[in-house]
């Protein structure tokens, strides 16, 4: 038993590739990774051996496996051949067929035996696979490892080695391969590269080193200034960040998530602190943070009150003794970027958001959908429609936070929302779209409420990111997303499969989350229709009634799919969600309230009664499609039960609909449950399918009316059948 080391030496790999390689080589709980899989297939992993370790740094992909045998593990298999009567002749000698069977399994004729399988006698043979030396099998494992990694965007390099038909593709050039079993180098080659026992140290601070034993791999590399374990590097970086931040009197932060990248940008990481000149601190916080994090991958430091300190932390791959020089260089780079940002910011503030908004007419939003100025006009129309259909100030969280009438806040915010896209700072740092608009709205005196709405209108930035914090912000955010979705359909560029270049699924999820949080009860189809109205006003052609209807139906379904995903994500059962979303409710909070109520109330007596009443009526009503269209004629009632059901229906109808309108689902369900005794008695006493077509038709119409009333709560036929 020895330790096996495979190391694939590369030029600097992209960090995302490093992360993907770790995932694929390590595997996950219950799904063995590529290393374990290859070694198992090669019969080089003893039962119970610990999972192989995977070590990845920018310049190397390594696997260390313990307990690897020097010969393949035993593999004995029984193979069943033809029936004995075919494999043997009357004298008990093997027939041609029997000999052929032995040959086909690489066995001698003498090894073939008879055996009973399920009562029938067969010729069988026991074959023990050859147990090759590990050294002869390992080159195949190395090839399987390199070839088995799923690497996006592979590249080619150099010239094809003589004798190779195809170029090898990998994320970056492979420059050396180490394969060792214990202290012995394994001979072999892959794509013209011979295996060896020499690995490379740190590019500048280390030297090549001959490994004496596979198990000394990490130690040898450490001596050559390489921390090969990604976990160790991460730990060292976090420790360094903590220490340097404490020295600066604050805590480090990483809103852009550059730590994951830093782990794979250095083999000998150390953290150092640089200074930001005090004059640069007059720049807005988000500009400073973005200048530090984007591209340069620096970490900002904040004090106890959350204020930025005039310092940044960076991860270096250099000798820590050289930190003074390296820090000076990094300070100059950041200083230059901040000078640039200051220059841009001052020009933007001088120009002002209003003037920028005027320049939007020169910027194309989409070639078929006009300029950004056109988009701003559509947003103004949409927020007016949305605002008019929404509860007055104070009824929703956030409020508008100012004395300005909401219509005016919305109109101004919609006009200015896109203006920062032509600002110098956003051209330099596109991630600051919206953020800069909010800041420039404040500096331009547009007021706090407008500024917040502008600043929040791209929110939520992801499926879990925060929602707008004010009602105007929420309405503008919904309007922007609805315009994007409707626009994509108008331009004939709806998302399909994995193609969603404009991020419309995220936009739809944003609409859903905002509508639920703010209880925005606008009818979905109406909202999308009013987005289409805006396009029509701007003279977008080809929006005839038929096309409009198709777009409204498809986009509504598109948004409802996100609601479905969100509810399932919450853990609601599929059937509850189905029953709720098939209900004839027009707005998102109403649909969500149903799904949540069905889940919470399922199993309660009144819920089961309501569902039973629905199911019994719906089963028969469904046999006559026209039944729902016919008015019920009380003069045709022949049985008391018919009159009683009619009375119960009339009594329940008003309160049930009233409760539904206020999303009081429990109350609505109880009203529906109240119909059950009358329904049960009806089915006991009344023969619905009467021979008289007039009586029959009237009875089906009555059942259809009850079905339709309860069906306003939910499409209960989507629920699993209940006991009745």
């Amino acid at each position: 038993m020895s330790t096996l080391l495979i190391e694939v030496g590369c030029e600097e790999l992209p960090y995302k590739v490093c992360e993907a390689v770790v995932r694929q080589l390590e595997g996950a709980e219950g799904a063995p990774g590529l290393v374990e899989k290859l070694l198992t297939e090669a019969r080089l992993l003893e039962d119970g051996a610990p999972a192989p370790r995977v070590l990845v740094s920018p310049r190397r992909i390594a696997a260390l496996a313990e307990h690897v045998p020097s010969r393949q593990t035993a593999n004995v298999q029984d193979f069943r051949g033809p029936k004995a009567e075919i494999a043997y002749d009357a004298e008990g000698r093997l027939t041609k067929a029997g000999e052929g069977f032995a040959r086909s399994r690489g066995a001698r004729a003498a090894d073939v035996r008879r055996a009973l399988v399920d009562g029938t006698e067969f010729a069988v043979v026991r074959v023990e696979a050859q147990r090759a030396d590990a050294a002869t099998v390992l080159p195949g494992v190395v090839a399987g490892l390199i070839g088995g990694l799923q690497i996006p965007r592979g590249m080619r390099w150099g010239a094809r080695p003589a004798g190779e038909e195809e170029y090898l593709r990998f994320s970056r050039p492979i420059r050396w391969i180490v394969c060792m079993l214990g202290g012995a180098p394994v001979e072999g080659s892959f794509y013209g590269l011979s295996f060896g026992d020499v690995t490379q140290g740190h590019r500048v601070l280390g030297a090549p080193v001959v490994l004496d034993k596979a198990e000394h791999y990490e130690r040898h590399l450490e001596e050559q200034k390489v921390v090969v374990s990604q976990h160790e590097r991460r730990r060292a970086i976090v420790e360094g960040l903590d220490a340097r931040a404490a020295e600066a009197g604050g805590a480090w932060s990483d809103p852009g998530g550059v730590l994951a990248e830093a782990v794979y940008l250095a083999e000998w990481p150390s953290v150092a602190r640089g200074a930001i000149s005090g004059s640069h601190l007059r720049l807005p916080d988000p500009v400073l943070v973005t200048a530090m994090q984007s591209h340069q991958r620096y970490f900002p430091v904040r004090d106890g009150e959350g204020r930025l300190l005039p310092a940044f932390l960076y991860v270096s791959n250099a000798d820590p003794a050289a930190a003074a020089v390296v820090t000076r260089g990094n300070e100059r780079v950041l200083g230059g970027r901040l000078d640039d940002a200051e220059f841009a910011y001052d020009r933007d503030v001088a120009e002002g958001l209003d003037t920028m908004a005027d320049r939007l007419r020169d910027v194309v939003f989409h070639e078929q959908l006009g300029s950004l100025a056109d988009k701003a006009v559509r947003l103004q129309g949409l927020v007016a429609a949305l605002g008019a259909g929404t509860a007055p100030d104070g009824a929703a969280p956030g409020g508008n936070g100012s004395g300005t009438p909401r219509e005016e806040v919305l109109r101004t915010a919609a006009r200015l929302a896109k203006a920062d896209l032509v600002s110098q700072v956003v051209i330099e740092f596109p991630v600051l779209q919206g953020v800069m608009g909010g800041l420039y709205a404040v500096s331009g005196g547009a007021g706090e409420a407008v500024a917040r709405a502008v600043g929040e209108h791209y929110w939520p930035l992801s499926a879990t990111a925060p929602l707008p914090g004010t009602l105007p912000g929420a309405l503008l955010a919904v309007a922007d997303k609805v315009d994007n979705i409707a626009g994509a359909w108008v331009a004939g560029q709806k998302p399909s499969g994995s193609r969603d270049p404009y991020g419309l699924r995220r936009a739809a999820m944003g609409i859903v989350r905002i509508a639920l949080e703010y209880a925005l009860r606008f009818p979905l189809a109406g909202l999308l229709a009013s987005a289409l109205d805006q396009f029509e006003v701007q003279g977008i052609e080809g929006l005839d009634d038929e096309r409009r209807a198709v777009i409204v139906a498809e986009t509504s379904a598109f948004v409802r799919e996100r609601l479905q995903a969100l509810l399932l994500e919450e853990g609601l059962p599929f059937a509850s969600v189905e029953a709720a979303l098939a209900a004839p409710a027009a707005d998102l909070p109403a649909l969500a309230a149903r799904a949540r109520a069905f889940t919470a109330l399922a199993g309660r007596d009144f819920f089961e009664d309501a569902v039973t009443a629905y199911d019994r009526c719906a089963a028969l009503a469904a046999t006559d499609e026209a039944a729902a269209e016919r008015p019920v004629d009380p003069t045709l009632f022949a049985e008391a039960a018919e009159r009683e059901l009619a009375a119960a229906y009339e009594a329940a109808r008003g309160p049930l609909l009233e409760a539904l309108a206020h999303l009081e689902l429990e109350s609505a369900l109880k009203r529906a449950a109240g119909l059950r005794p009358a329904v049960d008695k009806y089915f006991d006493d009344v023969l619905v399918m009467d021979d008289d077509p007039a009586l029959r038709g009237n009875r089906l119409a009555q059942l259809a009316a009850v079905t339709s009333l309860i069906g306003r709560i939910g499409e209960f036929s989507r629920l699993p059948a209940t006991q009745t």
């Binding site: 965007r153 080619r156 150099g158 270096s316 020089v325 390296v326 100059r332 780079v333 000078d339 070639e367």
Partner: protein
Amino acid sequence: MSAQKTLPTFQQVIARLQAYWEQQGCVIVQPYHTEVGAGTFNPHTFLRCLDARPWRAAYVEPSMRPTDGRYGENPFRLGHFYQYQVVIKPSPPDIQDIYLQSLVALGIDMREHDVRFVEDNWEGPTLGAWGQGWEVWVDGMEATQFTYFQQLGGIDLDPITVELTYGLERLAMYLQGVDSVYDLVWSRWDEGGRAVTVTYGDVYRENEREFSRYNFEVADTELLYRHFREHAGEAGRCLEAGLPLPAYDHVLKCSHAFNMLDARGVISVTDRTMHIGRVRDLARKVAVLYLEVNGDGREP
């Protein structure tokens, strides 16, 4: 001040790179005579890297990016700047080390600095070209773009060329420790016992002012559109006549006219796609014809 004297001038930076890459066997060629946006457009790169013949070249390339002009006011941005371009085909296995030694030749002691290869993939849509590689950072500063070309003119390359592009101004600013490109010392000499210094600003600031105004405000857009059309037409005629090199010159003229129109802010999104597509299509045809005329350099 004696330490200051040892800092390389701008022209010494170029001279050191020329000497280093000459030692590596590169053909030291000269800048191209037509406006280009980057050294990649020079035929010593774009055309020479298409075939299978070994090739090594290095040169300074004046690069014109009209939209990057800042009227001589921004300390880092220039509408006209210099690249130092190296191409080697096929890419040698030790090319990263060879490259790092060029930094040593420039006076950068590797043990004193943080040198890193940070993923950055390159794409040149007008040339139908892309590659993978890195930005090389020295203490957080981008010193060089390092690219393994995968395609040029839409053609899969075989063998692969490596391209190294140094931003000369940025590199010299780093080596001299100055914060504005205009303060770079280009050259100094002794004038009768008096030290005379010529800065980058002395040589180019007025250029930046005038050309920024011209490129952003003055250039005749109708003339530029006409030039685009005419050069595209002439490129087509050269292709029909079996002349890839003259055809390519006209492709470069188209590309420059497009960049100027872009700076003038008159290119709409549709226009942009159309113009880029037209240049890319011509570049692709030039590449195909170049291989037809010159052969692919492969043993039969």
